[in-house]
């Protein structure tokens, strides 16, 4: 176990040491203290490291992660695990907006709430949120799965391509081209697996599934105003 305090070590030096493990893998376990909300911590990793950060982190923590398992014992700023390719990121507190943005793979777990645009343009990642998500979550989502154990904010899954969304609580509103889907045994099994991986013990039967209605896949003028709400179309 190697411990690095960001009260003493610059971010560039921390990331250099972590990134170096991609070429020369020697030290699997890392503890980072005194993060103080700093940005771009543990980004661009590409080795099977276990990195624990004690405290709150700023923007883009664990950005573009490959292979590493990063745990944040605190709150995460904007774009945690953005564009993650593989590995896992766990936020013990709340996550700010755009958590898991455009991520291609791996598993992002937010034990608290994630705010707006959670999973925006997600491209294959699995995201499990223990609490609630803010508005426009999974906006333009392309692939992957989003599990929300609490409630979802406005315009969930707006302009969705192909993402499976599971929500246990209420959904304030569905975005354009997002609709409720049937929940078959294969979906319950997949959800159970995700919940187990995330360490959440909810019953999959308590969730509802949402996905793309695919009406926006090819342009049709009659769909051009979908999702704006009736008053606004008429005005």
């Amino acid at each position: 176990m190697k411990t690095i305090s960001l009260a003493e070590t610059p971010v560039r030096e921390l990331n250099r040491q972590l990134q170096e493990q991609a070429a020369h893998f020697r030290e699997p376990d890392w503890r980072i203290t005194d993060p103080g909300g700093r940005h771009a911590l543990a980004v661009g990793l590409d080795a099977p490291l276990n990195v624990t950060i004690d405290g709150h982190v700023g923007y883009y923590c664990a950005g573009m992660n490959q292979q590493a398992h990063v745990t944040i014992n605190g709150m995460a700023g904007v774009g945690v695990a953005e564009n993650m390719m593989s590995g896992s990121v766990r936020v013990r507190g709340n996550a700010s907006q755009s958590a898991g943005a455009t991520a291609h793979g791996g598993l992002l777990v937010v034990e608290g709430d994630a705010s707006a645009r959670c999973g925006i343009a997600m491209k294959g990642v699995d995201i499990v949120v223990g609490g609630s998500v803010g508005h426009l979550s999974a906006f333009m989502g392309q692939a992957g799965r989003l599990v929300v154990c609490g409630d979802a904010g406005e315009a969930l899954g707006d302009s969705l391509y192909e993402v499976d969304i599971y929500v246990r609580g209420s959904v304030r509103s569905l975005g354009a081209d997002c609709e409720e889907k049937s929940m078959g045994p294969e979906h319950r099994a997949a959800l159970a697996e995700l919940l187990e991986a995330a360490g959440m013990d909810h019953d999959p039967a308590g969730f509802r599934r949402y996905g793309s209605a695919r009406a926006l896949y090819n342009f049709r003028v009659d769909n051009a105003f979908a999702g704006y709400g009736e008053e606004e179309i008429e005005s």
């Binding site: 405290g55 709150h56 700023g58 709340n94 700010s96 803010g134 508005h135």
Partner: protein, 298 residues
Amino acid sequence: MCGIAGLFLKNRALEPELGALYTPMLTAMTGRGPDSAGFAVYGDEVPEDWVKLTLQHADPDFPWEEIAEGLERDLDVPVKWFRNADVAVLKTGAGEAAVRSWLEDRQPGIEVMSVGRGIEILKGVGLPGEIAERYGLARMQGSHVVGHTRMATESAVDLAGSHPFSTGRDLCLVHNGSLSNHNRLRDSLERRGLSFATYNDSEVAAGYLTWRLAEGADLQEALETALTDLDGFYTFTVGTRDGFAVLRDPIACKPAVLAETGDYVAMASEYQALAHLPGIEAGEVWEPEPGRVYAWHR
């Protein structure tokens, strides 16, 4: 395009430490706003029939004593004042209008930064750390403070474009974002008698609140109608004599973090501005929801 930081004390025992707690909050936002910085600090209140003004002059050796003596003599009112770098904080038993017109007639180079019972607005061009140092922010006492670091977008990097913008007595506004309909709105507010010193979008937001409050709206109502009348991207923090408020636009792209403990409410563009606050790790930390007015009073 900027950084915001605000601190509102619930525990009066912390008031002597307000500036010391707040200075690192402001300087943590340097990366977001290297062009200019400013803050409105609330404290040292004058009695109800008095008024406190923060006055600024480009000449750092400006003879403020002559202003104080002149006011005392011509308006026949008591005046107390002190100098802080290029500003003077002036307290008087005269009415605001009388003081303003006296100043305009005799000393056109004086800028009125703020008027109220507790507010003092201090701001300038330069790095936040320099501005805090210039005015001795770390030693200041008070109940709450709202500040800003600016990365100028479409208007000039100068004192007039620096935040906070005063929005009436004991009221100020800071803004992170970019409004998209402020020119038309400025025209319509000017037709209603308001005047603007800059082409800055945030000054229009401040003027809008001034106008709504003058029309009889309370702060909550004024911020709620701002949601439909102001277009674009914004996170606002507003200071009042005894409280402060936070509002984000309905799309809410510009960041904001709120934190609350038994001792204080704190707000910043980024968490790193809050990281050093005592007890923050155990406090409630969350992001304000889009289009919702958050307000605290004491």
